[in-house]
């Protein structure tokens, strides 16, 4: 099966500019996640969708970050305006979800978008 697709792979912007990332999950996966991974750290969950509804966005800086998954398939994550500390790799992941047994818990990650804010 095709994996999780993300674009762009790399992005360099100046602080206070805006940026958007796109993710297309594995076909049929109900749950979609956006993570932020700062260099040298583990991924941190920003937002989780179940179909097109938000399950958890407790760690999303809502004053500057927004995300949507309008049709319950692909998703976009936006940062506006960007700060220097937003420099990180943004990972999208998907899982079967829906309580389909233990297999629903495995998450499949895309290649990520490396964002550099100067």
């Amino acid at each position: 099966e095709a994996g999780v697709a993300q674009s762009p792979r790399y992005k360099i912007i100046e602080k206070r500019q805006s940026v958007a990332f796109w993710c297309n999950p594995i076909s049929g996966h109900a749950t979609l996640y956006w993570y932020q991974q700062i260099l040298g750290q583990g991924p941190k969950l920003l937002i989780q969708f179940q179909n097109n509804g938000v399950v958890d966005d407790s760690q999303l800086p809502k004053d500057r970050f927004s995300a949507e998954r309008l049709k319950g398939v692909d998703s976009t994550l936006k940062i506006q305006p960007a700060k220097l500390e937003d420099s990180a790799v943004y990972l999208c992941a998907s899982s079967r979800g829906g309580g389909a047994g233990i297999l629903s818990y495995e998450q499949y990650f895309g290649p990520g978008t490396r964002l550099t804010v100067t």
């Binding site: 749950t31 996640y33 750290q41 583990g42 991924p43 941190k44 969950l45 989780q48 179940q50 399950v55 958890d56 990972l91 992941a93 899982s95 979800g97 829906g98 309580g99 233990i102 629903s104 818990y105 495995e106 998450q107 499949y108 990650f109 895309g110 290649p111 990520g112």
Partner: protein, 112 residues
Amino acid sequence: SQQGEEDPQALSIQEGENATMNCSYKTSINNLQWYRQNSGRGLVHLILIRSNEREKHSGRLRVTLDTSKKSSSLLITASRAADTASYFCATSRGGGGNKLTFGTGTQLKVEL
């Protein structure tokens, strides 16, 4: 916030040796998962162990879980150069959301 902390932060071994990484976490969990991350293949799921399991095997991987100590270990036997990567444990409280909280990672280098 980071739930788990891996130990050691970095590990260097020779090909053919075994590698052991440890993970400690703070709150009760439904399951614990190990992931590998390298530049070539990104972040990949390795193995999942449920809170009512104590040990699990998958190929050259062996995972143990001690919920009383809130700790887990990942053993890679007969390591290969291709095992060079960062390894992360991630905990989940389960439920419909399955939110994962990742640890800080162990950087493993396997030398020829």
